[in-house]
Amino acid sequence: MSRDSAASAPGEPGARSGRPVGRKMTGSRWGRFVEGGLLQGGVQGSPVLRLFMRWVRRPLLPVMRLWRRNIQLKVVVTTLLMSLGVVLLLGFVVIGQVRNGLLDAKVKASQSQATGGFTVAKQEADSAMGADGDDRSGSGDNPVQNVSGWMNSLVESLSSGGQGAFSVVTLATTTADSSRALGPRGSGYVNPSISVPQNLRERVDAGRGATQSYTRIVYTNSQESQPALIIGTQVNDPKGDPYQLYYLFPLTQEEKSLSLVKGTLATAGLFVVVLLGAIAWLVVRQVVTPVRMAAGIAERLSAGRLQERMKVTGEDDIARLGEAFNKMAQNLQLKIQQLEDLSRMQRRFVSDVSHELRTPLTTVRMAADVIHDARVDFDPMTARSAELLADQLDRFETLLADLLEISRFDAGAAALEAEPIDLREVVRRVISGAEPLAERKGTRIRVVGDQQPVVAEADARRVERVLRNLVVNAVEHGEGKDVVVKLASAGGAVAVAVRDYGVGLKPGEATRVFSRFWRADPARARTTGGTGLGLSIALEDARLHGGWLQAWGEPGGGSQFRLTVPRTADEPLRGSPIPLEPKDSRRNRGLNDAGLPLGGTQKLATVPAQPAGERTVPPMPARAPRVAGAVDPAALPGNGARVVPRPTADTRGPAAAPEETSEDRREVPREETSEDMPEAAPSAGGPEAGAQPEQTKQTQQLKQGEASRGR
């Protein structure tokens, strides 16, 4: 909610870029297989195969995405497939049952019919034999023709009883002597030899009694062949020779019935499948619509529109979900409201305290100034007291102002007023402001890179405060050597680096300089009387811009402080146009002398975007052994190359990165003890008040920046 959280840390992914991770796991096993194997190109094989897979995968990807994202589609497709399976299974079972039922009836009827027919054929043969015996003398000269005629009439008489419901066929036995055998006969244009399967004929030859089978009746005329049940047996003709008698029952009617059932089932099945799909679609829609609504509203809630609620109708589970969701939103809103109220109260409190403190302080201040102005009339002791009073009031005021500024950052009450500004202007103002101090110190301030406009969307007041702090610090600790202010702009970022050649920073100090009230060397006389909050405020200011403030230094080699801000507000920073470690650092020069390529160190110094949470030691110590021969080893770990993360969990003192060794930590409290301060202050305050022109102190804003990192 605070602005601090609006811009993400370097390298940290945007807040809403990631979809929920769990979603990917929702795919079915098949889906995972397809994704893992087919879609992710997980095929272990030749490159050609992989290429082919990629080629296949490409058009599938949108479909797969839709499949993964759309639960409605998933459910409907699954329902369709499953109901199709069920309908098919059901269809096969039903059709099998119907067919069996139809055939059973037909077979029974046919068997009784055939049995009757066989009996008749036997009786006919027996009676014909008797008659034959009677008139053998008369017409026994051509028995074959006689039997043939008899059989013709037998087939005729047998088939006439069925009125086309069946056909009758006689065939010779397979083993019969072909010269004596009787030719095949059939009723109703049945082609006898083709319609009767060969294996049935063998079975009839072999077995006793009736044998049945299925076949297709083939007709001698143009009538279509049709399926049929065939029942056959072996009987004797009047001469006592065996022949085969077959009954063929066409199954046309049964087949018609069966195909009718099939058609009906198929139509019904199709309807069922389609309707089930539609039902699934409707049902899922009922569930999915509120879920989608909830998702949309949750998104809007997280975007800050806390008054969004779900529409709740009825009392079903979906309604309960809606109610629970709304209750959650309500509670969330309430909690946020409470926190906001709390924050507002705190801000109000700070504001009130500031007012309450400031009014008496103003009176004291004015009284002290009046006394101070009149000190020439006092005796020396009182006059000195008046001076001390006025000086310490200055410090007190600055401290109060800085504390309030910090508390404003802590309360998240600091607001960025960004507009496009030319940083050259800011630098010019800062330098002209620091000129008097620089003159006193004998320092020359140079500006590099101000040929072109260096424009960025930034809060001029805050950037000026940061830069004033850096420049004043550089002059303070520059030991009279030059201070170089470098401007650069590239790749969506704008940077200002302030380089001094003074005492520099000891190893580990590059990060600690940003800690509140941190002082490197309390023994050194402080001339500006900083509060120890200046760099902390500067860091917060940089953060508010979504920018970085970083320090680099080496003992005796000076230091460089670099401010990087994005060119347009709220754009994440990816790098800085100026390397943190300057080219003229001892290490870089040492490397150059040793003839080693500069590129490696350059890269190291150009701080890459580190994830916010990663607060590891800069990569320097690991590399130290490699270059140890070339450079003064003491200078090495002073590299403070690190990214100042945007506040994550720890907003209090991210700059006080806990990377210092325990040895370092033991040193800190000792350095911070305040017993040195009283004696440092008078000597510092005195000359300052006298020498510093009035105008530099004219505004409050000016003073707020004059904090120092006081080493």
Binding site: R358, P360, V370, E419, G433, R461, Q700, Q701
Partner: protein
């Protein structure tokens, strides 16, 4: 330079101290301790400048500022303990010309007061044109088509500063120096707020200004006449 200054502050110690400092600098201070009586005291003492504390019992400073501004263009300098943007902007929008954040130094206060009173020095007779406005510098009047527009002295100064050099783009810092008398860059919100106030009075359509034109990233300039 003599000047009557009305101090509106409820803190008696501070008011007394302000009195000592102001008298020491040759001003004639008068005092009122609560907001309800501020307007009556203002009418009675007819000050050349008002020093106004923002937190007052009764009517608060913002309200008092609005009431005074409604009937007079007298310079108003706010005393505020809050340097937060909102507080300052609200104060400026209610009509204050300048503000000074507690704790301040006496010299700073006096410099601010002098800067606001300085304009009483006689200006040379001068006629300026900006847009379709005619400015009579000596007569302290701004007219459009013969109808005069009422501006506070500060707004008048701002307009004159822009109109005198219509070819020049003024940065906020330059305006602060020329109009407010800051020798060092201060809060540019002062300029922003007062340009808004000026526009609301002189522009036909304050959303699309023609008299005071913003030059993005730099500052303001006078519109073409």
């Amino acid at each position: 330079m003599k000047g009557r200054v009305l101090v509106v502050d409820d803190d008696t110690a501070l008011a007394e101290m302000l009195g000592i400092v102001l008298r020491g600098e040759g001003f004639e201070p008068s005092f009122v301790a609560d907001g309800d009586r501020a307007l009556a005291a203002f009418r009675e003492s007819k000050p050349d400048l008002v020093l106004l504390d923002l937190m007052l019992p009764g009517r608060d400073g913002i309200e008092v500022c609005r009431l005074i501004r409604a009937e007079s263009g007298v310079p108003i300098v706010m005393l505020t303990a809050k340097s937060d943007t909102v507080d300052v902007v609200v104060g400026l929008e209610s009509g204050a010309d300048d503000y000074i954040v507690k704790p301040f130094k006496p010299k700073e206060l006096v410099a601010r007061i002098r800067a606001r009173l300085r304009r009483s020095e006689e200006p040379a007779p001068e006629q300026l044109a900006i847009g379709d406005l005619v400015i009579d510098v000596a007569g302290h009047s701004v007219k459009r088509d013969g109808a005069s527009i009422a501006l506070t002295p500060l707004e008048f100064d701002l307009l004159v500063a822009l109109a005198r050099k219509p070819w020049q783009v003024f940065t906020r810092e330059v305006l602060l120096e020329q109009v407010w008398g800051y020798r060092h860059a201060a809060d540019t919100r002062l300029v922003n707020v007062h340009v808004q106030r000026l526009r609301s009075k002189v522009e036909k359509d304050p959303e699309r200004p023609e008299i005071v034109v913003t030059v993005r990233g730099v500052g303001y300039k006078a519109g073409p006449s």
